[in-house]
Symmetry: D2
Subunit: 338 residues, 4 copies
């Protein structure tokens, strides 16, 4: 961390900061510029320091962090990219992993139909929501355990591993009985009770970026899980909130190479939430693969106009199948497979 | 809801939308413009409709919602402003309510010192965190139940009601044994498990706007609690995330009159998180009162430079006392008391 | 346009709105819902109406626009995609057009070196700034006419058409003597004096999206040029401003398919400004092509560490050449050429 | 400036950065942390350095600026607040200055009517647009010189100085013949041709913050004018663009105390554009005064429903008069006059 002192800060103010740094067990490196004195704070555990308390000291203008505040999620920690094995599906390896399925599990027959179509088109993981975070209390909230059972049956029939959302730490036991991957939604990216509890689990966690979360916050939330002992974390870019209203969210394509550079964790793109419109899903899916994503999650529904949720961003089974073929070309163009 | 058809949509496409509307139990109002046909969807329960599934139908360009999706939180539901009584403190009445205290309860002696200072300066409610949502797993996470006990003792000594954060539905029982008001933090505004559980409680809930939540989402989250049966909800503007980096957040002063117009719930301003810098707290606190806030929450610490969290935005006890005097002038200028 | 009346608006208030609509020469379509009356405003020239003045009438809750406010820029106006010919280079056709060159023309020898390298690697258009919009008055402001002359010489030697920025209407004459394409920068997207003057020119205009401009505003700015009579306009996605600080801007990949759907104008991507970091330019360039861009603009410099501007986002000549090869694979994967 | 080297950067890479710094005439201060080496760049002219070119050097992770990039606009340059005299009206002094008038001058009689009402209610400056930046080329673009003449007549009749917008450097001569203050609109905040030309003028400049401009960019744009020799600059907070759609813009109340702290220039608030809705103008106007603004600009129209532009955010003459009385209370509560 660096502490920038105000123009003409008094010697006693500088001294007070130096003392405080040393008191906390760090070394000081003083640098006197023409206009400003700068105090470098040196130590192995910079990620443990709080800059906030220095900003309040007399004579301090501001502080700047030098190191990223995460550690286990960082490329510095592991130069090799993490590959997560889920029932034989390798996430983070050379093959791009397609996770597909409906927003909500609506019935047994529906999820079975979709599962077979996903399998046939070449998808690797089946998604489907049983517990749904909905912005309105009056909207459909998911089938709950019944939905989990249908997902499990679909896995049995197709061999596809399943991923489904867990909304609170109180549901981890139940959801964990069925799912292969725990999904944490964008509204729960900073639900620390949930993250801590998932850190104690052995099954992989799929962590979405917050609705307006930074890349750094996403990796800090991953750090919560990793530091709890669960090293099987993948992170997901799903669009961020901006002022642009032409689309539901703004898919942050930059985040994909940034995450790949700063972290060793697998990176998944979600073009359905990233755009909110099925017409744009194909273009953005191809873009995500071209930019280096390790996988994609898309929403597929037999009849989107009758979907109980997220119909506008869901692909029909036929469109999904066609997209798979187009994506294969793009994957090969960037030296990957699908 | 209104469904706007594409330029030159075919009659069969229009017909399909009409049928679907009627199938869902709503009435249709057709309006043919020169370039576009518009389909009005009429019914008492517009807040129950999902526009998303119409957007995917052939020939549909987009949909627009006419009514707000919340009901119980709306001024249409209650023209009179809600006043919440907490141990004799009226929140939402003519007197502006000051909630003050440290970010975290750090020790018994510290919270007692602050409580007495808050009381003396004219504050009405004591705040203090015992369970802390921290972006880093390596940061201080709060004293837990021990902190709650210290808060309760401070209440006993001063008579001030207390408010403290609850981070997950699993903690409601424990926190509820001590607190007078449940605080829901900005990272949990859309933690629906928690909101549903608070809807079953009888104690009031203080609900912060999400880090990049809209006013509408804030009221929808309030609706989760209200529709569960707990009508004692107050909402809090605490700054939103924008591109501006000169301050920690951008305090959305507009939201205060907007919330007062659209809803009957009491509105509290949080200039500490809204700015992130104690130097700005006073100016923004006065602005919030001038704009019509029913109360303020500020962070106060005996020695901010040694605070375990949020030191940079905490006022010293003396600064708080001075601010109270300044605020009293502004409150009177807008016909309120403090 | 649609005018939504308040809950329980009085008949006289509704009547006043109806009268005002008719007074302005539009037809009215009244729709009475259970809770709200909605007034449809029907006419061929909806893009000429101002909703702002209705919002101020008694009993009006809000207004909603049904049609886009642009006309000539819209796909409704021209279903066929516009192809712009610049000295034989087709922009908007099947071949993806690469525009490359330094941020600023720094010297004659430098621009000649870059021009030959761009040509050799397969680029189609040479870019280079002679008049530079810099956020600091103390930064290098460009070589002015001298830079234009060097660009013209580079064109002569390589046959590449040139593109350079024009910063104000007073410079159009001078810049127009040299350039093949007028570039309008992100800070001037809504400089209407400049746009109007460019509408009178016969040379093509390359119009960048504003730093936080919407897709709609970009097309409205294009409309200024088109409605002046100059139909040769291409639009450029160059990243938007968001809260994310990991990159200089957030490249809005969604905007590419949205622009292609809503407009017939060619769409160019600018991954240099869209990311601000040369390390990310390759990934985002590939993404833009995969998403359907008709061309790219990238910054190339023989020695980025000594660049007078934008060094951090500039590719070396070697990196540019390598990128061209990688892009060719992606272009072919989406059925284009490069 | 500080250059942060990558973890395990090689000695030769560090050496190369050091050499480059010295080559540019700055002194180096090396600081070796456990994980990172940090290179301080020391010199009186830090605002002249470009960090961008360092970011591209091998082994560099990123750079951080220590000093603000502006100089003449800074409080370090002038501890005393600037007061600008306009025909006897002091802007930046103890009295809060009210600038009011219609968005556009629509006719002679209309501007005269408004001018007298503004005068009577206690306003100090008359605003009115003659050249209008409109997002649509089909909207009313202003009366041009005719409007300027009407404004001048209103000044003659009332004694109020006038302020009107100048949209391009080519109009400075004409506008300067009439106006007392040049207004630069939010879309032109970074129109550097215009700013440079205004730096050569002797009349004061009222500079609006860009639609999504940072506080720092606003002060950098002020710096363009100041460094040209015109020291009479006032800056205006007019709301910024955010994701929130409940209001037209988000009025950044924090910016007012931030600007007052970082700069000596007078700060004006514009609650009309800051909210976009006349219903909110009063609350936000009071908030701006409470937060320390030196003046306000509001839009006033005799019949907002028939305004040619910005009707929705305009006050009637009566509402303006009432607002003046309310503001006076708030001004006095914060030790100012109005």
């Amino acid at each position: 961390m660096i502490v920038v002192m105000k123009n003409h800060a008094e010697p006693a103010q500088i001294e007070a900061v130096v003392q405080r740094v040393e008191e906390l067990g760090y070394k000081v490196h003083l640098s006197r510029g023409e206009a400003r004195t700068i105090i470098g704070v040196i130590g192995a555990d910079e990620h443990l320091i709080q800059n906030s308390s220095f900003e309040v000291m007399d004579g301090v203008e501001r502080t700047m962090r030098v190191m990223q505040p995460y550690k286990l999620a960082s490329r510095d920690f592991s130069a090799a990219s993490t590959v997560i094995d889920v029932n034989g599906v390798q996430i983070g390896g050379p093959k791009i992993v397609m996770m597909a399925g409906p927003c909500s599990v609506e019935s047994r027959s529906m999820i079975l139909e979709v599962a077979h179509a996903v399998k046939e088109a070449g998808g690797s993981v089946l998604r489907g929501g049983a517990f749904k975070p909905r912005s309105s209390p009056y909207s459909f909230q998911g089938l709950g355990e019944e939905g989990l059972k249908h997902l499990a049956e679909a896995r049995e029939q197709t061999g596809l591993p399943i991923i489904t959302e867990v909304m609170g730490s109180e549901d981890i036991g139940l959801v964990g009985e069925y799912t292969d991957i725990f999904q944490v939604g964008a509204r729960n990216t900073q639900n620390y009770s949930l993250l801590k509890a998932l850190g104690k689990q052995s099954k992989p966690v799929f962590l979405k970026r917050g609705i307006s979360g930074t890349v750094q916050e996403l990796l800090m939330s991953a750090e919560y899980i990793l530091s709890g002992g669960n090293m099987k974390v993948m992170v997901c870019e799903r669009g961020i909130r901006t002022y642009e209203t032409a689309t539901r969210n703004t898919f942050d394509i930059n985040a994909i190479p940034v995450l790949k550079e700063q972290s060793h964790l697998p990176v998944i793109g979600d073009p359905a939430h990233g755009t909110g419109m099925w017409q744009l899903v194909g273009a953005v899916a191809k873009a995500a693969v071209a930019a280096g994503a390790d996988g994609l999650m898309v929403e597929v529904h037999p009849d989107p106009a009758r979907a109980w949720s997220d119909g506008a961003q869901s692909l029909t089974l036929e469109r999904f199948s066609r997209l798979m073929q187009e994506l294969r070309q793009v994957a090969q163009a960037v030296g990957r497979d699908l």
